[in-house]
């Protein structure tokens, strides 16, 4: 286990892209009361996002194609990040890039900014080519590209800033990915992202929400069994304190709340209060 494993914040935080800029979430509770605040995914240059409709309801989840709308790194570092830090939030900055070099630049500049609790590299965008991002998902290249992204981010980040990688919730392949990323210097994983899906009108999108809970939990369990030294943050359909406990019991060190927040903006604060303090101290140092 890396020395940074103990620095990974938890046990309850929002998922990337489901907490707005932080200001909207702060209307419903103190950001410092959360294990961490995860930003929406920040890219080097501003992005206006995809066309409407961007979010569509399905019986068991939300389909979305927001398209990484964000103000770009410069504006984020100048305005949003300092505000979050002033709120006392432990800020996890989610990043995505168009190339390995761009990932490295994002990591370097985010890592130099004061108050960053961790960096989360989004390696699981459902449609990297559609959004002009680096493709990390093809079967053979994925190991090479994703590990290069992580090792170059690791090189650029201060040693004491934990580096997280967010992966697709694929129980079959997640363990192999984890081995590669661990070697590349990752401190923890977030499992997982949304599943690639089609929007009703045929555009590329992704599915999040309750449908993914058992899938993400299976990923967490597979990882806990195969790579017990690698901390895993469970993300996918967690909507209640009971869900959070189930994810933690499967071996996660923390959970992220996404879709539930869009249904109930108090969900992450409610679950954080329900789960209580940092679980790692409750389990007698088992992890």
């Amino acid at each position: 286990m890396s020395a940074n494993a103990a620095r990974i914040p938890g046990p309850v935080m929002n998922a990337a892209g489901c907490g707005g800029t932080g200001r909207e979430l702060a209307a419903y509770g103190d950001l410092s009361a959360l294990g961490a605040f995860v930003t929406r995914t920040i890219t080097l240059t501003p992005r206006t996002g995809g066309s409407m409709p961007r979010v569509v309801e399905t019986p068991s989840g939300l389909l979305h194609a927001v398209g990484l709308q964000n103000p770009g790194l410069d504006r984020f570092l100048a305005t949003e990040l300092p505000w979050l830090v002033r709120q006392g939030a432990r800020v996890v900055v989610s990043i995505a890039g168009e190339s390995v070099v761009e990932h490295a630049e994002l990591a370097r500049r985010v890592g130099q900014s004061p108050g960053v609790a961790a960096v989360e590299v989004d390696l699981a965008e459902p449609d990297p080519p559609a959004w002009g991002l680096l493709e990390t998902r093809e079967p053979i290249a994925s190991a090479l590209v994703a590990t290069r992204v992580i090792s170059s981010c690791r090189r650029e980040l201060p040693r004491d800033v934990p580096l997280l990688a967010k992966l697709r919730p694929d129980p079959v392949r997640v363990v192999d990915q984890a081995y590669g990323l661990l070697e590349a210097g990752v401190d923890g994983l977030v499992v997982g992202h949304a599943l690639p899906a089609l929007m009703p009108d045929g555009r590329s999108g992704a599915l999040s929400g309750p449908a993914l809970f058992p899938v993400a939990r299976r990923c967490v369990a597979e990882l806990a069994a195969a790579v017990p030294d690698l901390p895993v943050i469970g993300c996918g359909g967690v909507g209640s304190t009971a869900d959070a406990h189930a994810m933690l019991d499967a071996g996660a060190v923390a959970v992220q709340i996404g879709t539930a927040l869009l249904h109930d903006p108090t969900a992450v604060h409610r679950i954080a209060a329900g789960v209580g303090g940092d679980r790692r101290h409750d389990t007698g140092g088992a992890r």
Partner: protein, 293 residues
Amino acid sequence: MTSTPPPGDPAPTAAPTPTGPVHVIGEILHSRRTGAYQHVTLAAPDVAERVRPGTVVALTAGEPRLGRRLFWVRGVRTVGGFGSAVEIVVEPTGPGSRWVAELPVGARLPVTGPLGRPFSLPRDPVSCVLVGEEVAAACLYPLALRLKERGCAVTMLLGARSESHLLAALEARRTARSVTVVTADGSVGRKGPADDLFGAALPEVLERAAADVVYAAATTPSLARVARAAEHHGAWCQTALTQPGVCGTGLCQGCAVPVAGEDGLVRSARACADGPVFRGDRVRWDELAGGAP
């Protein structure tokens, strides 16, 4: 922290500012059908006090549905024993809105609000024209009252496909100096073309009222036309956008509106958190889905 606060009590994580949104458990006090719409009165104190004309409330739409439904606030009133309540207008078109419309009196459900930025009010007693289409017109009634309190001359132009979809024109006459009604089928008021309901009436009303400010709440194509007509007339225009929001709180960035800033650069604003009210001359209507060409 309890997960289900008692009705009327704000969630323990209430906003620090008196205008920000709160998340509470509301209770249905009245529900009555008028024409095509269900008028629902919800006990939601702390929400009601914070409501400003143009803001909306978000409701859960039944257990299995993850998205939320946004509703215009038609008014705020005091109900004995319950403090203040909000009246919303529900058009039962989909399963979620039907579920809300069919809730019995006494039913309890989570309410988040008020959400969004309200209409801004003029400092001086100017001439205001309020253009409302179908259910969206709901937000203009509390606005008309506020404008009248400030000494503004209020003129209303209301439109709908038919009389059953027209929101309380009778009540509009109590507040407004003059009310013009247009329906697509001519069932009440003037007959306007279905694809451009306000087309003929709008320039005439703006001229007659010598409008300084135009407030509009309508479908996107109509808003685009109202904004253009207001600009042509030389009036300030504020438009309240109806967007299919999923969260309504600004968390998901699911409701993008292309809006030009002071610097002329077009940015993607959120209809729920940065709107629903935008300056008519700032919205890039042709880029907005469903906008008039």
